[in-house]
């Protein structure tokens, strides 16, 4: 897995690429929680995720709950088919705010 963080319209967008599994999910967790502790609203871009296991999902859940506690916005954007299949298994596709891209999320924020 690789990750990149970019700033866009008031969000830190954490782009995860490749397989997010037990070998690297701690890095994803660190990146996500780091943005929140820096006081940022966070979006996780999963468009380039080819696989995510339960440890990767746990990182997303922890990010979501941490952001919520701190009154920061959190969401997923561009969820790949592979990632969505796993989120559906965990019944989390109805829990996380999910949008097709950052623009769609921004439009909802303004609505």
């Amino acid at each position: 897995m690789q990750y990149n963080i970019r700033e866009e319209s008031g969000y830190s967008v954490v782009e995860l690429t490749g397989d997010v599994d037990l070998s690297c999910s701690p890095n994803a967790r660190k990146a996500i929680l780091g943005c929140i502790s820096d006081g940022k609203h966070v979006l996780i871009d999963l468009s380039a995720v080819s696989y995510i296991d339960s440890s990767g999902v746990a990182s997303l859940v922890e990010g979501y709950q941490t952001a919520k506690k701190g009154n920061f916005r959190f969401g997923l954007v561009g969820v790949s088919d592979a990632a969505m299949s796993v989120l559906k298994l965990a019944r989390l596709d109805k829990v996380f705010p999910i949008h097709s891209d950052v623009a769609e999320r921004l439009a909802e924020d303004l609505a």
Partner: protein, 138 residues
């Protein structure tokens, strides 16, 4: 076609070996004639089962060994994982309530959700834990 044992893989209990496991299981499922969705389901289950061994049986000890065996009896694909850790309390291995939104605890749920059978226990010789996952493919 019935082929019995398809393959066996032995790996150290290192998380970076999970990718190899997924590749092997994916290849075996495809060769058995499984479509993309069934292949994905079997890969998810076996990956989670390996994680169970690494995180809970070996408790993060990377010197442990995991044995993965894949069988195809013509109707079912059966994947069995063996480890040499202390005996697992089978009563403690339960899927959790998904309405309780929290990190962790999803692995067993994933396995039970996608596989047609899932058994855990200790081998007859008392030396190893096993996880046996069955998926009907024909």
């Amino acid at each position: 076609m019935s082929h019995g044992k398809v393959c066996e893989l032995r790996i150290p209990s290192l998380p970076n070996r999970l990718k190899i496991v997924r590749a092997l299981v994916s290849s075996a499922a495809e060769q058995a004639g499984c479509g993309p969705e069934v292949t994905f389901e079997i890969v998810v289950a076996v990956n989670e089962a390996c994680m169970n061994v690494m995180q809970h049986s070996y408790r993060g000890d990377e010197d442990g060994e995991i044995i993965l065996q894949i069988f195809n009896n013509g109707r079912d694909m059966v994947v069995e994982l063996l480890d040499y850790a202390e005996a697992v309390d089978v009563n403690s291995v339960k899927p959790r309530d998904l309405d309780d939104i929290r990190p962790g605890g999803l692995g067993t749920h994933f396995i039970r959700e996608v596989m047609d059978g899932f058994q855990i226990g200790r081998t007859n010789d008392g030396r190893r834990n096993y996880q046996r996952m069955t998926k009907t493919i024909a």
